[in-house]
C-alpha cells in the first residue's frame, strides 16, 4: 500500500506565471527515505509544503494512504492540522515564548493525551535526540544544532505518518552535519517513519536518502537510488547537476574536420554508433591517464593541478578543449607535461539534442546491470 501518491501535482502563483511545480507525479511507499533534490527555485520546497498542506495545489492530487488530502478535481482539501504529518522548517521556526519541553509537548497537548503519557513520550523523544538536559531552556538559549533537534523532537513527539524536512543539514557546520546525518538515519531506522526531505546539496541527498527525485524548473527529472542517479543520469541536466567535480561534457554536434584537434573529433572517430548523440559526458574519475600516447589515447597537456584535500583535480588541455580528471592518489604528473588519456567506452554518457539519455549498448555505466 503506497503511503503518499502525487498525481500531476501543479502549483502556479498568480495568473500567467510559470508554474512553480509542473505536473509532478511520484509514488512514495511507506518507510521510504526520499530526497527532493534540485537547484534553488526548482519547486522542491513547494512540493514539501503542499504535502504538509500549508500550500494548496492548483492542479493534480495528493493521496495519503489512498485518501485524497488535496485534490483539485475532487475539490477536496484537508488542512495541515488534520494530516498527521510533521514538518521541520529550514530555520526551525521554534516558538520563542515556550521552553524546549513546551515546544515538544505542544502537539500532544492538542491531542488530549493524558499528562502521564505525554510526559513519558516527550521524555522519550527528548532523550533519544539528546535534548532532555535543555528541557527548561528557551530556544534563544540553544545552539543551532540543539535548536534543530528540538524542531525535530517537536514533530516526532506527535508520531507523524510522514516526516517532512526542509534542508535539514544546510544551517549546520561541518562537524554537526555529520552528526545530524547519522542521527536522521537512526531516526529513520528506529521510528520507521516515511521521511521526505528537500535539499539543493547533492552530498546531503546522496548520503541520506535511499531514493532521490531530481527536479528542475518545477518538473521531475529522474527518480532513483543515489547510485542510479549518479551512474545512469536520465538526462543532461541530471548528469551535470550530480557529481563533484562536474561531469565533463563534450559537444559532438559541431565536430571540426580535422581529427585529433578536439575531443569531439576524437570521440566521433571512435564512436560511429553514437551518430545520433549531440553531447557526450564522462565523469572526471572515469578518465584514465596513460603514460604514453597510444592508439586509443587522447594526447593532452597537464594544464593545472588542484589539490582538494585527499583528492586531486587535474585540468587536461587538448587544443582549446578542457577535461577535468580527478583522482584519489597523489598525481605523478607535473603541469606542462604531455601525456595520454583514455576515455573508456563504458564510462561515456550519450545525450541527444533534447538532452535525453541515449541507450546504446556498450556505453554508459551499469548498462548491463
Amino acid at each position: 500500500m503506497p503511503d503518499i501518491l502525487l498525481q500531476g501535482l501543479t502549483k502556479t502563483y498568480g495568473k500567467g506565471a510559470a508554474p512553480a511545480v509542473d505536473g509532478v507525479s511520484l509514488t512514495v511507499p511507506h518507510g521510504e527515505f526520499l530526497c527532493l533534490l534540485g537547484p534553488s527555485g526548482c519547486g522542491k520546497t513547494t512540493i514539501l509544503r503542499m504535502i504538509a498542506g500549508i500550500e494548496h495545489a492548483t492542479g493534480g492530487t495528493i493521496l495519503m494512504d489512498g485518501e485524497a488530502v488535496d485534490s483539485v478535481d475532487q475539490a477536496r482539501f484537508v488542512p495541515p492540522e488534520r494530516r498527521r504529518v510533521g514538518l521541520v522548517f529550514q530555520n526551525y521556526a521554534l516558538w520563542p515564548h515556550m521552553t524546549v519541553a513546551r515546544n515538544v509537548d505542544f502537539g500532544l497537548r492538542l491531542q488530549n493525551v493524558s499528562p502521564a503519557e505525554r510526559e513519558a513520550r516527550c521524555r522519550d523523544v527528548m532523550t533519544k535526540l539528546k535534548i532532555a538536559d535543555y528541557a527548561e531552556r528557551y530556544p534563544a538559549q540553544l545552539s543551532g544544532g540543539q535548536q534543530q533537534r528540538v524542531a525535530l523532537a517537536r514533530m516526532l513527539a506527535i508520531n507523524p505518518d510522514v516526516l517532512l524536512l526542509d534542508e535539514p543539514l544546510s544551517n549546520l557546520d561541518a562537524a554537526l552535519r555529520l552528526e545530524m546525518r547519522a542521527e536522521l538515519r537512526r531516526i529513520h531506522e528506529t521510528f520507521g517513519t516515511t521521511i521526505i526531505f528537500v535539499s539543493h546539496d547533492q552530498w546531503e541527498a546522496m548520503t541520506l536518502a535511499s531514493t532521490i527525485a531530481v527536479m528542475d524548473r518545477g518538473r521531475l527529472q529522474q527518480v532513483g537510488s543515489p547510485d542510479e542517479i549518479y551512474a545512469r543520469p536520465a538526462n543532461r541536466f541530471v548528469a551535470e547537476f550530480i557529481g563533484n567535480p562536474r561531469i565533463n561534457m563534450v559537444n559532438l554536434a559541431d565536430t571540426p574536420a580535422r581529427a585529433g584537434e578536439s575531443v569531439a573529433a576524437h570521440l566521433a572517430a571512435r564512436l560511429p554508433q553514437a551518430a545520433g548523440a549531440s553531447v557526450c559526458g564522462i565523469r572526471p574519475e572515469e578518465i584514465r591517464l596513460v603514460p604514453e600516447v597510444s592508439g586509443d589515447a587522447l594526447c593532452v597537456t597537464v594544464a593545472g593541478i588542484m589539490p582538494t584535500g585527499g583528492s586531486w583535480v587535474i585540468e587536461l588541455a587538448h587544443g582549446a578543449d578542457r577535461l577535468f580528471f580527478s583522482t584519489q592518489s597523489r598525481p605523478k604528473v607535473k603541469p606542462g607535461e604531455r601525456i595520454g588519456c583514455l576515455l573508456p567506452d563504458e564510462a561515456l554518457h550519450l545525450f541527444d539534442a533534447e538532452g535525453r539519455r541515449l541507450a546504446i549498448p556498450g556505453y554508459g555505466l551499469c548498462e548491463a546491470a
Partner: protein
C-alpha cells in the same frame, strides 16, 4: 520502489474550480477575518467620510428655504459660499492662510531644532546625553493644550474676560500678538513636535552604519563634508518623513488654536470647522473638512513617494555596533545649554506654571497668603459651584472613571483589531482584501478628528437600520475612538505580523493546532509586547484627545478633557488646570509603562 508517472495536466470546469476554492478557503480564517473587518471598517470609517463629503454638495436641513431646493438635493451653494463669496475670506481663505502659516512655521522650526538636538544627543559626547535622550521626549507625551493653557496662564490679557494672566495681573499689558494667534500657536506646536523629530531622526542616525563615515574619512573627507554628503543624504528620508508627519498633524490640530485663537476670532481650518458646526452650517463645515482632507491626502502622497525613494537606501543595514561620537571638546558643557533650554521651556515651565496656577487664589500674585491647596483638596469653599477641591469632587472622579473606561475599552478594541488587520493583511490568500484593509484603516489619519466627529454625529445620532441612535451613549465615543485609532493600530499590527512571519504558525498547524489554538497559544503570546503597545499608545492619545469629545461627549459621558474645558468655560481656571495636570500625569505614566514593556516601542511605533 519509487517511480515517476506521466504528468496528467487537466483544466477543471468553472463550477469545480469554485467548489475547490471553497474547500481550500474554508481553512483560511484570514479570509473571513479580512472580509468581516473590511465590512466593519466600511461602516465605521468609509461611511462617515463619504457622508461628510456628500454634505458639501447636498442641501442641508434648514437650508432648503434659503436655497429654494428640497433637503438633500444637489447644490453647489456651499462650495461657492466657501470659495467665492463675500464670506469666503472669513470662512475659508483666512483660516487656510493661518493653517498653512502655522503648519509651515512649525515644520521649519521643529525640524531645524530637532535635527540639531538629535545630532547632539546621538552623535556627540554632550554632557548628560542619556538623561536628555529621555527628557527631550517628554513634551510629546503631554497634550498640546497643556502648553496652551500654561501660555494663557502667563500671557492672557484683557481682551478676553475672566481671570487675567500673570503678566497682566502684575501690571504688564501683554500685546495681542504675544497672547494669542500665530506666534504662541507655533511656539507651542514646535515645543510639542520637536521630540518627534529627535526620535525619528535620532533613530535613523542610530541605524546609520558608522563604517560609511569612516570610509569617507579614510578617503580624506572632513567632518563638514561627511555631514553634508554622507550623513544628511542618508538621513533625509527620515527627516522628510518626520516633516510631513508634523505638517499633516498641524493641519488637523484643534485644541491649541481652540484655546489660543478662538477667543480673538483667530481661526484655523479646524476651529473654523468647529464654529461652522456649532452654528449649524453643516454644508460649509463639510467643505472645510474636505479642504483639510485634501491637504492631508496630498501630504501623504508626497510621503509615500519619498518612502518609495527611500527604499533605495534600505541596504543601510547597520551592523556597526560601535558608534563613533563627535568630540565637542570644551563645548560639551556649553552645548548642553540648548537641550537644557528646550527641556526647561518645553516641560518644566509649562508644568510648573500650571501647577502654580492651581495653588494660587489670584493669578500672578506671589505672596504667601495667596497660596492654597483648596483647589485640590479643599472643602466647603465659598464658591457658587464646585465647593470642594478637585480631588474631593465626585464629578472629577466620575469623569476620570469615564475616561479610563471609554478610552480603555476603545484602545483595547483598536489594539486587538489592529493585530487582526495585520493578520488578515499578511495571511489573506486574496491580495485585494489585504490592500483594501490597509487603505481603509489608514483613512482616518487624513480626516481631522473634528471632521470625523462631525461625521459620526450625523451618521449615528439617529437610528439607522438595526443600529439604534447612539448619541449620548458611550458607544458613539468608543466607536469614534476605535476608528480614529485604526491608522496607528493597523500599522503596528501589520508591522508586528510581518516580523513574526508565517512559520511559527505553520509549525503549529502541522502539529495539529486549529485556528483558535494558534491565535491563543502562538500568535498572541509572541505578540504580547506589540499588542500592549498597540493598546497603550491609543489609550494615551485618547486620554489627551479633545476634538472627538468636544463634539460627541454629553454630560452623561463626561470625560476629563471635556470636564476641564467646561470648567474653563465657567472660569474655574485653577480647577481646570488641576484636571489638565492629572491628564498629563496619566498620559506620562502610560508612556513610561509602554517603554517598560518594550524598550524602543515608542520610537518604532511612531515611525511606522
Amino acid at each position: 520502489m519509487v517511480h515517476a508517472l506521466e504528468p496528467t495536466a487537466r483544466h477543471p470546469a468553472p463550477l469545480q474550480r469554485l467548489a475547490r476554492m471553497v474547500a481550500v478557503m474554508r481553512h483560511e480564517p484570514a479570509l473571513a477575518i479580512g472580509a468581516v473587518l473590511t465590512l466593519a471598517f466600511a461602516y465605521l470609517i468609509v461611511a462617515p467620510v463619504v457622508s461628510i463629503l456628500l454634505q458639501a454638495v447636498v442641501v442641508q436641513p434648514g437650508d432648503s428655504a434659503r436655497l429654494h431646493q428640497g433637503e438633500g438635493a444637489f447644490t453647489l451653494y456651499y462650495l461657492a459660499r466657501a470659495f467665492a463669496s463675500r464670506m469666503s475670506g472669513i470662512l475659508l481663505w483666512g483660516p487656510l492662510v493661518h493653517t498653512l502659516t502655522i503648519a509651515a512655521g512649525t515644520v521649519a522650526l521643529s525640524v531645524s531644532l530637532g535635527v540639531v538636538l538629535a545630532w547632539l544627543v546621538n552623535r556627540t559626547d554632550l554632557v548628560g546625553r542619556g538623561w536628555f535622550a529621555t527628557a527631550l521626549v517628554v513634551p510629546f507625551m503631554l497634550p498640546t493644550w497643556t502648553f496652551a493653557l500654561a501660555w494663557t496662564t502667563i500671557f492672557k490679557n484683557g481682551v478676553v474676560g475672566g481671570q487675567p494672566g500673570w503678566l497682566q495681573a502684575m501690571g504688564f499689558a501683554t500685546p495681542n500678538w504675544l497672547a494669542y494667534g500665530t506666534l504662541p500657536i507655533i511656539v507651542i506646536l514646535v515645543l510639542h513636535y520637536t521630540p518627534l523629530v529627535v526620535l525619528i531622526v535620532g533613530n535613523a542616525l542610530h541605524r546609520l552604519d558608522v563604517q560609511m563615515e569612516e570610509c569617507a574619512r579614510i578617503l580624506g573627507a572632513g567632518p563638514r563634508m561627511i555631514a553634508f554628503s554622507i550623513v544628511l543624504p542618508l538621513v533625509r528620508p527620515a527627516l522628510l518623513s518626520a516633516a510631513l508627519l508634523i505638517f499633516a498633524d498641524c493641519i488637523g490640530e484643534f485644541a491649541v488654536p481652540y484655546i489660543l485663537g478662538l477667543p480673538v476670532n483667530y481661526d484655523t481650518l479646524s476651529t473654523g470647522l468647529y464654529r461652522a458646526l456649532s452654528s449649524r452650517q453643516t454644508g460649509v463645515a463639510a467643505v472645510l473638512a474636505g479642504a483639510i482632507m485634501i491637504m492631508g491626502v496630498v501630504t501623504l502622497m508626497i510621503d509615500l513617494r519619498m518612502m518609495r525613494e527611500a527604499r533605495r537606501f534600505v541596504t543601510v543595514g547597520g551592523k556597526g555596533g560601535l558608534q563613533r561620537r563627535q568630540s565637542l571638546g570644551r563645548l560639551r558643557h556649553l552645548a548642553a545649554l540648548l537641550p537644557a533650554a528646550v527641556v526647561l521651556i518645553g516641560v518644566a515651565l509649562p508644568l510648573l506654571t500650571l501647577f502654580l496656577s492651581t495653588v494660587m487664589i489670584l493669578p500672578g500674585r506671589f505672596t504667601p497668603d495667596n497660596f492654597t491647596l483648596d483647589f485640590w483638596i479643599g472643602s466647603n469653599l465659598h464658591t457658587v459651584a464646585l465647593r470642594n477641591g478637585i480631588l474631593l469632587t465626585p464629578e472629577f472622579w466620575a469623569a476620570a472613571w469615564n475616561t479610563v473606561r471609554i478610552v480603555g475599552i476603545a484602545a483595547a478594541i483598536s489594539g486587538t483589531l489592529g493585530l487582526l488587520v495585520g493578520y488578515a493583511v499578511l495571511r489573506s490568500p486574496v491580495r485585494l482584501i489585504g490592500q483594501v484593509l490597509r487603505q481603509i484603516t489608514f483613512l482616518p489619519y487624513l480626516v481631522p478628528g473634528i471632521a470625523f466627529a462631525a461625521a459620526f454625529l450625523s451618521l449615528f445620532a439617529v437610528s439607522r437600520g438595526p443600529i439604534p441612535a447612539l448619541y449620548g451613549t458611550p458607544f458613539i465615543l468608543i466607536l469614534a475612538l476605535v476608528a480614529e485609532n485604526m491608522p496607528f493600530a493597523s500599522r503596528s499590527g501589520i508591522a508586528a505580523m510581518t516580523q513574526l512571519g508565517r512559520e511559527p504558525e505553520e509549525a503549529a498547524r502541522v502539529a495539529g493546532a486549529g485556528f483558535l489554538t494558534r491565535m491563543r497559544r502562538i500568535v498572541i503570546p509572541i505578540q504580547a509586547g506589540p499588542l500592549a503597545t498597540a493598546i497603550l499608545l491609543p489609550f494615551i492619545s485618547g486620554i489627551k484627545g479633545v476634538s472627538l469629545f468636544v463634539i460627541l461627549a454629553v454630560p452623561a459621558t463626561d470625560v476629563l478633557t471635556t470636564y476641564s474645558l467646561r470648567l474653563l468655560d465657567y472660569n474655574y481656571d485653577q480647577a481646570a488646570n488641576a484636571v489638565v495636570l492629572m491628564i498629563a500625569l496619566i498620559a506620562w505614566l502610560g508612556t513610561v509603562l509602554i517603554q517598560r514593556i518594550c524598550g524602543t516601542g515608542l520610537a518604532r511605533g511612531l515611525e511606522s
